[in-house]
């Protein structure tokens, strides 16, 4: 992954190009457009920009504020980034056909419904 990032961020031949400019260019790419739309678009942009620019050893650790803002926004608008809302891809994969019988699933006792009293 690191090499991918390096590759992607060093696409520019200009060694002096700042991280800021690189991050801006990444944001201008059409494939990011959908993420910048919607109710959390601004928060996404801020958080992504900050992360791209981050030079901390633990990348992103200097981005707590924009990260928390994005979190709060997603909590308020849980469907902010779901494809259905944006309207791209409505076809839903048919999943979840499996039933619990397919698994040897053992729940903890506290989670099991109390048996109905039979008199």
């Amino acid at each position: 992954m690191e090499s991918l990032i390096a590759e992607a961020t060093s696409y520019s031949k200009d060694e002096n190009e700042s991280l800021e400019v690189r991050a801006q260019k990444a944001l201008e790419c059409p494939c990011v457009a959908n993420l910048r739309k919607g109710p959390c678009g601004t928060q996404f942009t801020d958080a992504f920009l900050c992360f791209m620019k981050s030079t901390s050893e633990e990348k992103g650790s200097d981005c707590v504020h924009p990260f928390v803002a994005l979190q709060d926004c997603i909590k308020t608008y849980p469907d902010a980034f779901s494809e259905d809302i944006i309207g791209d891809n409505i076809s839903k994969k048919e999943v979840d056909k499996a039933t619990v019988q397919d698994y040897k699933f053992i729940p903890p006792r506290w989670s099991v419904k109390a048996k109905q009293q039979i008199s």
Binding site: E2, I5, C29, C31, G60, P78, S82, F105, P107, V112
Partner: protein
């Protein structure tokens, strides 16, 4: 910059964002490829070992502080070149399982940078959860996973929207309802299954690093215990087979859970060398002698109410003090082996504090005011 590159940047951003959201910490960037599994380690200058954590974050961090490897204020590695082993059972009985997994992951990275090491051993509760045996899951633990699942799903949505075509639906094929189980818990169980099944995000990212057995210097670490047949199977082979099982494979069906992880005589369940003072020392001796250079077996799994203890002339060291609030709330204790020779027990037990009149000289030589040393 083409879209493929951008989408991998977005995915990397999303992973970090979700990590932060789920656990409040930033993890080091992953290094690729991951190092080959190592089973045998040379004797370190200082070795510390801690027993089962069972989802109790405060008590676990207390134990690691006692071990001198964790800064209690920052929760960063402070152990320098120390080598720490945690002998398994992070999961169940407590509500901070993911939080502990993340912390240990970060500590491993910091330990390596500091010239130390942190090895985590796989316990029977990790194996149970990977096999959907959730008998000992707590409500708080389920909530932690439900929250993880909710955010992980948001992350998947963001990656897809950012053009990542390889986003795997980690919930694929899992049931949405669980007959007989209260409805309010369904999402939690579904998330727990998704996270921990072989090849699930938490299993493949974190648990695959956990070793079933590790030999550090002349100490053999294992959660339950080793029998002759396990040694004959091959310790390296066990580690590598278990790792393959945990990692699963995105293309083929996951391999079966190895038999030596299941049942009372398995490496993660064995209690043969962990009960009372009646221990088959001869059998233990024979097993140890079949592992080159091994002088002792260090085990967790079976709670030692009296604290860390040893039998068979220090050949069996039982270090699970049941520290978690969910199983006894035992007083944290840590096994320390210095220079490959000197074995001590560091304890938070007030009975052994320096200010107390302790007749045993050894008990008085300890490291910090709140740390005691038992003989």
């Amino acid at each position: 910059m083409d879209c493929q590159n951008i989408s991998s940047l977005i995915s990397n951003f999303v992973d970090n964002f979700i990590d932060f959201t789920v656990c409040g910490i930033f993890l080091p960037q992953p290094t690729n490829p991951s190092p080959p599994p190592q089973t045998i380690f040379p004797s370190p200058p200082r070795l510390v070992a801690i027993g089962d954590f069972h989802g109790d974050y405060p008590k676990s961090t207390q134990a690691m502080t006692l071990a001198g490897i964790l800064d209690p204020a920052t929760h960063r590695w402070s152990g320098g070149s120390s080598f720490m082993v945690q002998v398994g059972d992070i999961f169940d009985r407590g509500g901070n399982e993911i939080k502990l997994i993340y912390l240990l992951h970060r500590l491993k990275h910091e330990a390596t940078l500091a010239g130390g090491n942190l090895v985590t051993i796989l316990g029977n509760h990790e194996v149970m959860n990977m096999n959907y045996d959730f008998r000992y899951v707590t409500r708080e633990g389920l909530i932690e996973f439900e929250r993880w699942g909710w955010w992980f799903k948001k992350g998947m949505d963001m990656k897809k929207l950012g053009g990542d075509e390889d986003v795997r639906d980690v919930f694929d094929g899992l049931p949405v309802s669980f007959e007989g189980v209260e409805r309010k818990y369904w999402n939690g169980f579904r998330a727990r299954m998704a996270a921990l099944r072989p090849n699930g995000p938490i299993a493949s990212r974190f648990l695959q690093d956990y070793k079933t057995v590790a030999v550090v210097g002349d100490s053999v670490f294992v959660h339950g215990g080793l029998l002759k047949e396990h040694v004959e199977h091959g310790l390296e082979k066990i580690n590598s087979e278990v790792r393959d099982w945990i990692r699963g494979s995105p293309t083929t069906k996951t391999t079966k859970c190895p038999d030596y992880l299941l049942g009372g005589l398995s490496v993660v369940w064995l209690r043969k060398f962990s009960y009372g003072s009646n221990c088959d020392c001869e059998q233990l001796q024979s097993i140890l002698s079949s592992i080159p250079g091994a002088a002792r077996m260090v085990m967790g799994h079976t709670i030692q109410r009296e604290g860390i203890n040893s039998v068979c002339d220090n050949q069996a060291l039982r270090i699970d003090v049941g520290l978690s609030k969910g199983c006894g709330n035992g007083i944290p204790e840590v096994l320390e082996i210095t220079g490959g020779k000197e074995i001590r027990i560091l304890t938070s037990n007030l009975l052994y504090r320096r200010s107390d009149p302790v007749p045993d000289k050894k008990k008085a030589e300890f490291l910090a005011p709140e740390v005691g040393v038992k003989a």
